[in-house]
């Protein structure tokens, strides 16, 4: 079957929202080459349990591509249509198992040396899609350093090069004021899934005013899901045929109900999101620092939050991989290594939020927990500057945050 042969009945096995979306965009789907169409279907088929903003974004992309002049669309799709395929790939049931097809296609592109042409073609295609209207102000609060020696002057250096280093923060009230800043910003926008607090350890208590509207999730809270994924990983290791590719493939097809995710959260959208943090992330199953970074990244990519608070706490000390899989309950922590991890991760969180923020609309504040040090990056901060002035988080927000 080729995409031009798609019929409304092709999507009979899709869930309701997905089916309706696919039928609505059938005209576009029929015009896409086999190298691209399954990628769209992989997103469409999951739409019932995707965030509302993901549905909106996918509709925007499809509508924008459909609205292109035929000649332009043909020209953009030509390089992707020119990718050589194999009969084996073409025979796969890419309508009902699009994710499997996409994974096999990726292996094929690498092994035939076509991966760069594919990436280039994809980049060109998506560059033709105009940006969605985006006026939201976004705030990312990041906390690092619990339990570590934070006296190093170079701490958070990568992020600090982008903004101002604050060396006179009042640590006594920093936590409280960070939470208040989170609540104030979250109060501006009532949209669902817009405000998130992700914690690598035992979470702080959010202000009452924001508890109903913000989603709070922590590494310990998701421990049942994580342990079930680790059990799956152990099972894969026990086959003695494990490799990275097999591990990724086998984890990627785990459905939320297989992990009994409903025991952790009732919302099917969150069930999928939390499940995928462990089935699509690398290291999230064993290191809380990797979990928080990946959660921040996936939130930015998928939920496009207006407000996030990401708190890194010490991960377990590194051990042999198999040992960490089989014995996930290590109490021996590595606060110093975790701080180094979190410094890089905070920089990545800034990059990730920057991808979804409109120009001039993002504020990032990273506080080194328990200390007088913070870094702030916003349109109002100057790159690579230092302030030694005594300041509270509230004052820093008032001075530098995007209103």
């Amino acid at each position: 079957m080729t995409p031009d042969q798609l019929q409304p009945s092709s999507f009979d096995s899709y869930p309701p929202l997905a089916r309706s979306f696919a039928v609505e965009h059938l005209g576009l789907l029929r015009q896409l080459p086999l190298t691209v169409c399954p990628s769209f279907l992989a997103q469409i088929s999951d739409l019932d349990t995707r965030f509302p903003i993901e549905r909106k974004t996918l509709a925007w992309q499809c509508d924008s591509l459909a609205a292109l002049p035929q000649e332009k669309r043909d020209a953009l799709l030509a390089p992707l249509r020119a990718i050589a395929m194999t009969p084996e790939l073409e025979k796969l049931d890419w309508v009902n198992s699009p994710a499997v097809f996409v994974e096999r296609l990726s292996a094929h592109l690498w092994s035939t040396g076509q991966i760069n042409s594919f990436h280039e073609g994809s980049r060109e295609l998506f560059a033709a899609i105009p940006d969605q209207p985006n006026e939201a102000t976004r705030l990312a609060l990041i906390v690092v350093g619990q339990g570590a020696d934070t006296s190093r002057a170079s701490i958070l250096s990568k992020l600090a090069r982008k903004g101002v280093r604050l060396n006179g923060v009042n640590p006594a009230i920093a936590q409280q004021q960070l939470l208040e800043a989170f609540a104030r910003h979250a109060a501006k926008e009532k949209e669902a899934y817009a405000h998130w607090y992700v914690d690598g350890g035992q979470p702080w208590i959010l202000p009452e005013s924001v508890r109903a509207s913000a989603i709070q999730v922590s590494y310990p809270q998701l421990s049942p899901l994580r342990k079930r994924v680790l059990q799956r990983m152990q099972g894969i290791l026990n086959t003695n045929q494990a490799n990275a590719e097999k591990m990724r493939s086998d984890l990627a097809v785990i459905a939320p109900n297989e992990l009994r995710s409903e025991q952790v959260v009732s919302d099917p959208i969150l069930q999928r999101f939390y499940t995928e943090l462990f089935t699509s992330g690398s290291g999230t199953q064993i290191f809380s620092t990797s979990f928080v970074q990946w959660a921040g990244r996936e939130l930015a990519r998928r939920a496009q939050p207006h407000t996030v608070l990401l708190r890194y706490t010490p991960r377990q000390r590194h051990r042999g991989f198999n040992e960490m899989v089989s014995d996930p309950e290590s109490k021996v922590l590595d606060p110093e290594g975790s701080l180094v991890d979190a410094e890089m991760n905070a920089y990545y969180n800034w990059i990730e939020m920057g991808r979804i923020a409109a120009p001039g609309k993002l504020t990032v504040l990273a506080w080194i927990e328990g200390s007088s040090k913070a870094v702030m990056v916003s349109p109002k901060t100057r790159p690579n500057t230092v302030s030694n002035q005594a300041v509270t988080i509230e004052q820093a927000m008032a001075s530098f945050a995007v209103a």
Binding site: N243, T289, G320
Partner: protein, 362 residues
């Protein structure tokens, strides 16, 4: 296709023995290391030995491009064949194209003890020789996988508590283990030949392993032991600790780079203090490729090498040796598959690599 340069130099020496003084050691970082964590300004603190001790004694190539598949086994196989291999990265299989070791041994008529590979990771069992017609294990390198040796020792003896050595016995996050294709022959050194090859008892091997912190340290220990006992003319080792980056822990990735930096210096020091190697050995140090860029939305920064972007494909090469110009930096782009023809044209054997002999290292 036989490259003109390597073919002509190969013909010139056909029928004669290798110049006995020449020794070659290739060190790859099988983990991928980005410039940002190594030779770029912000990474230089991680590699004081490479930067301040080794680079002034060698020629440094700032742009080495890997245009092949960015998986560690297939990329390492590509480095040793000089051809961008396209086979499944996750099946341990002999490369289809002849390896450096086979070219070297067949054409220069070297004995089987003269070429060795030391690789810490499972999956590299078959890298010592190819399935190419006219080549194969009879011309290949001996392969030592120290972690597998240690694992075998743990099964065959009750000399130690396995828990003490667990950190050696695992592969990294990305590659917990491999399928191994069945072949009639392999050149892997097994526990029963440990003593005869390295003059090292299982007991002493285990005892020494207990004093080390990582698999890469174990590889260097084996390399030095080989130098002492076999003095091979051609040796390759891959350091893999840094591939822990796949777990997303930046600190562990950096620790491993710092360790590799220290171990490279230790190896060079061993070379320069060893009567069989001093002033007659060329050492090539090169990561197999880079890792994804921080700002590439298709990746997740240092963690993986999945995007195929320029940063993931670009790395560096440092060469040191008596015929190599010192304190020299070359910005001209070369490719990772150039290494095999370069060693060939220097030592005097021909290769079928589409890569080119790097003139500065001829």
């Amino acid at each position: 296709m036989v490259s003109a340069t390597s073919f002509s130099s190969g013909l010139a020496l056909t029928g004669s023995a290798i110049r006995p003084a020449d020794k070659t050691i290739v060190v790859t970082f099988g983990g991928g290391a980005r410039d940002e964590e190594t030779f770029a300004e912000e990474g230089q603190a991680n590699i004081p030995n490479l930067l301040h001790t080794l680079l002034p004694q060698g020629t440094f190539f700032t742009q080495v491009r890997n245009a092949g598949i960015l998986g560690h086994y297939v990329a390492t196989a590509s480095i040793v064949t000089g051809v961008y291999e396209r086979f499944n990265n996750f099946i341990a299989q002999p490369p289809p194209n002849p390896t450096l070791f086979e070219y070297f041994r067949r054409e220069l008529r070297r004995p089987e003890t003269d070429a060795w590979v030391i690789a810490p990771s499972n999956g590299f069992q078959k890298i010592g020789s190819s399935s190419a017609r006219g080549f194969g294990p009879q011309f290949g390198a001996g392969v030592i996988l120290p972690k597998r040796l240690l694992s075998a020792a743990s099964r065959n003896t009750n000399l130690f508590d396995n828990d003490q050595l667990q950190h050696f016995l695992q592969d990294n996050y990305e590659m917990p283990s491999y399928d191994i294709s069945a072949t009639a022959q392999d050149n892997e050194m097994h526990l029963d030949t440990l003593e005869s090859t390295l003059r090292l008892s299982v007991q002493d091997f285990v005892k020494h392993a207990k004093t080390l912190d990582s698999a890469d340290e174990l590889s260097i220990f084996i390399a030095k032991r080989l130098m002492d006992r076999q003095a091979p003319s051609l040796m390759m080792l891959t350091l893999h600790d840094m591939d822990v980056a796949h777990s997303g822990a930046f600190s562990l990735y950096i620790d491993a780079i710092q360790r590799a930096d220290r171990l490279c210096a230790e190896l060079w020091k061993a070379v320069q203090s060893h009567p069989e190697y001093k002033d007659r050995t060329t050492v090539y140090i090169m990561p197999d490729f880079g890792r994804d860029a921080d700002d590439d939305p298709a990746g997740n920064g240092f963690q993986h090498h999945r995007t195929g972007s320029a940063m993931a494909r670009t790395t560096w090469l440092l060469a040191l040796g008596p015929h190599v110009r010192q304190n020299t930096v070359v910005d001209r782009a070369i490719e990772s598959i150039d290494l095999v023809p370069t060693i060939g044209c220097h030592l005097g054997f021909s290769t079928n690599s589409p890569g080119r002999c790097i003139e500065e290292l001829r």
